[in-house]
């Protein structure tokens, strides 16, 4: 075991090296944990929806609660028009949540602590939302960049500012998730390293910190998944209802 706090983020290959042209598409530990989280989601929901009892079992309660949480989130932030996008937002929320939570297990790998993963998710959302906006409103979607009641003189600057703030969405979405996960896990590892270096006499204080931080990290893991999903809803709301 290495005491380097960044060691936990190393991506390494599992199995043979596969390449497609110049691109390396080998199976890595990151792909392994993504698959594990996808399989975990499928099995939890399979177990939860297998028997539909009136008095739910714990696992059925879990699935029903998560359904209500996401469906309420969508109807609160994006309105009834966004109902067809429920499956996408639900899977997104569940995937991010499970990746974050699996990362909390010792010896596991946190997929969402890599910016390429979160940025890929955010880019899918950004492109998808832009397409939805143009499909629903045509060229009128560009009105998003022209706020109402702005004098004509200021218009060129305002349009540029609005465009930058639109383009900043995927960046802020991905950086937020990635930075929170990476900072949290690094901090946990640093305090864990203190426990070892201070030994049996002085190690108790950082150990108690580590325990407290683990609780905080679990909260953040949930919260970041929630924020990721709710921001997707807000962007979807802009694309569907255009009330800027």
């Amino acid at each position: 075991m290495s005491t380097n706090p960044m060691h936990q983020f190393i991506v390494y290959r599992i199995g043979p090296e596969i390449s497609l042209g110049n691109i390396d598409i080998s199976f890595t530990n990151a792909s392994l944990f993504m698959m594990i989280s996808a399989l975990a989601i499928i099995s939890v929901f399979f177990a939860g929806t297998r028997r539909k009892a009136v008095i739910p079992t714990k696992i059925q309660l879990l699935t029903e609660l998560s359904y209500t949480l996401v469906s309420k989130m969508i109807s609160d932030t994006a309105g009834s028009k966004a109902k067809p996008y429920f499956p996408f937002i639900f899977s997104l929320f569940m995937f991010v949540l499970f990746c974050n939570m699996l990362g909390m297990l010792p010896y596991s790998f946190t997929v969402t602590s890599h910016i390429i993963v979160t940025f890929a998710l955010a880019a899918i959302i950004f492109i998808g939302v832009t397409i939805i906006g143009f499909v629903n409103h045509g060229v009128g979607y560009l009105k998003l960049f022209i706020p109402s009641g702005v004098p004509v003189v200021l218009l060129p600057i305002i349009v540029i500012i609005e465009m930058i703030s639109y383009l900043a969405r995927p960046v802020s979405l991905s950086v937020r998730l990635f930075a929170n996960m990476m900072a949290g896990h690094t901090m946990l590892k640093v305090f864990g390293g203190f426990v070892i270096s201070l030994g049996i006499i002085g190690g108790w204080l950082p150990l108690s910190f580590t325990v407290a931080l683990t609780g905080l990290e679990i909260l953040i893991a949930f919260l970041q998944a929630y924020v990721f999903a709710i921001l997707t809803c807000i962007y979807l709301n802009d694309a569907l209802n255009l009330n800027h």
Binding site: I164, S172, L219, L223
Partner: protein, 95 residues
Amino acid sequence: MKKFDVLSTRLKIAKKKANKNSLNNDKKNTSSLGAALKLSTEMVAAVFVGSIIGFILDNWFDSKPWLTIIFFFVGAAAGILNVIRSAKLMQKNND
């Protein structure tokens, strides 16, 4: 029969109370923590994107470093706009 009626109304009231309490607490806790985590990245991302756009345009027009500098400030303005917008949204949600 009357007993059942009484019980069901009492149950209804209790449910309503429980619902209200848990909802309020939930919303307050998650939204304020979410807000704290949200605002900082909003600002940084816009500045970052603005500077990158300025840098790319500089390479196109061979005008280093002027467009980078200008777009840095435009990006900062966009960041402030984003922060104000999401703060407004939070305020609306809290009410």
